[in-house]
Amino acid sequence: MMEQKLRQEAKALLEQKKVDWIVGFETGSLKFTTTPLITKDIADTERLVINPFITNNLANFLTEIEGRVGIVAKGCESRSIVSLIQDNKVAREDLVILAVPCPGIIDLAKIERLVGKDRDELEDISRDGDKVSVKVDGQKKDFAVADVLFDHCLACELPTPTEYDILLGEPRLPTPDLKASGQNIVDLKELTSAERWAKWQDEMSRCIRCYACRNVCPACFCERCFVEETEPQWVMPMPQWPDNLIFQIIRNIHVAGRCTDCGECERVCPVNIPLRSLTREMYDIVGELFKFKSGMDKDALPLMVHYEQEEAEEFFK
């Protein structure tokens, strides 16, 4: 239904030359995957899909595409888009936002842990309301949807974009479960400071500096990233844990007030570093200190580049 409407709308946008590009999802080459579809070709719109596996944050592509773009946006994507508009990286008038009311995206890693099989060994995954059925070895296993969605989806505050041009389905109301979503962070906070330090040392020791976390992040839009500065060199490019940690900490501070908790950094990490524990904590700190939620209002001033009389710190007054 949503998919049919999307294909029609996308096709019309290209035909009527209202956009130069369509950015959406098509079926991926592996089971239960989708892949970004970035196209100018009207015929390609037939391949657009909307399903429980549309993981990528497509807003990431906006800063590199030239021309007007029709973009498929879940709530989290729309927040990233709004954040990019706030930062003057993207012009609202160059976009046609095709809004997808999103029921949450399925985290295949959670299903793998629950059934003890790799994703390519599963025969089928289907969702019906609050139930997700997984078929494996001919047997059907049912799970509560809350057990198999991404952690960041559990905390979602905006399933349906509020900034859009075309709404593709019935709006969904947010039902955030912050406790379930933030369990990893709660567990971390229960450690002593020394234990936590040792844990992050361990986690950061695995980093291979592929920069997928940075490159997949719509909020990481710097044309020259500090890690690539060579004169002076801020961070050594070798993957040793102190430099890896510094990279993550600075990256996290740079995206404070821009990070919309889309969870992509953690999803794409090939060595399983729980990066969202850092970004979500920063998101909550930003909310607490500045009463600011990134990507909610395109007319709001970006948090880190403006100043208000009522600044919390005496220093700024």
Binding site: L30, I38, E121, S205, I208, C210, Y211, N215, T230, M238
Partner: protein
């Protein structure tokens, strides 16, 4: 005549080998699947191991390694080589795709150059291969000159025959080690027949196929097709996953860590996909993303065949299953236009 060993006795076998070698085996203890120093007891990999996320090349070309130390005194700079560990290591359970990748890396690090860091580790290592029984959806080894049970590039090969492995010596190094290893039993004719069946079953489980016929020429003829490469690169995010975790990619960067006239020179993994690649000596000549994607594809499927007559891809599938955007090398290779035939 081949030998065999019960799966229950693998721990004992590794203990025996540990007396002589540093044994590396598949492990998830660090939080990611990789070849890690065996802990003396864990053989749970026999249940979960399909392939490691970090390729075994990391045991020969580590993510970072010390090249030498230097310090300055009145007479000038003094160079000290790194401590030679000289240890003999045994890599247990390497998959045929990754073993082939080592043979492909040898062409650069041994045939074209003599890389002392790489070669020392390579010469001191015994490779014990383990055939796959459960290839991944992303695997396409049978299209890339190898197979799930190919013994070609290892010293000793293990083939799964149910509750046992059939153990075959492949090289002289392997034969010598097997002769000295008392934990192995003689295999029966029926075990060898079972192994043949197992090989065929595994082979047929690799369903992803890639036709690479004429690819070198097709890529050469498409080198200037900017439109094709822009389309191919559109969704790539220029991260380093597909290159750093590729078993045949070997680019490295060199950096000095210095402090008051003394320091250490390191080399570490680098990727042609990065926009800052080769920025240290000059600039990256491939500033647009499509040029970097083209480089990655052509290095594997055109330049390596030109230099060494072999495609630098073994079909291990890591780049497909780990890619954040599902950029699929097999789809890309299949989409390269065939200009001779006029097909587009």
């Amino acid at each position: 005549m081949a030998k065999k060993i019960s799966k229950k006795d693998i721990a004992q076998l590794l203990k025996t080998w540990s007396q002589q070698f540093t044994v590396l085996a598949p492990s998830r203890a660090s939080g990611v699947a990789e070849m890690a120093e065996w802990d003396g007891k864990d053989t749970s990999f026999l249940d979960w191991y399909r392939n490691t996320t970090v390729p075994p090349k990391a045991s020969f070309l580590p993510p970072m390694e010390e090249m030498f130390r230097f310090r300055k005194d009145e007479e000038g700079y003094r160079i000290e080589p790194p401590d030679k560990n000289g240890r003999k290591q045994l890599l247990f359970g390497i998959r045929p795709c990754d073993a082939r990748a080592m043979a492909i890396l040898d062409m650069t690090f041994e045939d074209a150059y003599k890389d002392p860091y790489y070669l020392e580790k390579r010469r001191n290592t015994v490779l014990v291969g383990m055939g796959c029984t459960n290839p991944c959806e992303s695997c396409f080894c049978t299209s890339m000159g190898t197979s799930p049970t190919d013994p070609t590039n290892v010293d000793i090969m293990l083939i799964d025959i149910g509750d046992h492995f059939l153990v075959e010596a492949v090289t002289d190094k392997g034969k010598e080690l097997i002769t000295k290893t008392k934990d192995l039993k003689e295999a029966a004719k029926s075990d060898e027949a079972e192994a043949e069946k197992s090989k065929e079953t595994s082979y047929n489980k690799v369903v992803r196929k890639l036709d690479t016929k004429g690819i070198k020429d097709k890529l050469r003829d498409s080198f200037d097709d900017e439109e094709f490469w822009e389309k191919t690169a559109a969704k790539c995010i220029s991260c380093g996953i597909c290159t750093l975790l590729c078993p045949t990619c070997y680019c490295f960067d060199i950096n000095d860590e210095t402090d008051k006239g003394e320091g250490t020179r390191f080399r570490s993994w680098d990727s042609c996909g990065f926009s800052a690649y080769t920025k240290m000596p000059m600039e990256n000549p491939r500033s647009e993303k499509w040029r970097r994607v083209r480089q990655k594809v052509c290095h594997k499927y055109e330049f390596y065949p030109m230099a060494f007559d072999v495609i630098a891809c073994t079909g291990c599938g890591r780049c497909i299953r780990l890619c954040p955007v599902n950029w699929d090398i097999t789809q890309v290779i299949e989409s390269v236009p065939d200009r001779v035939k006029g097909a587009k």
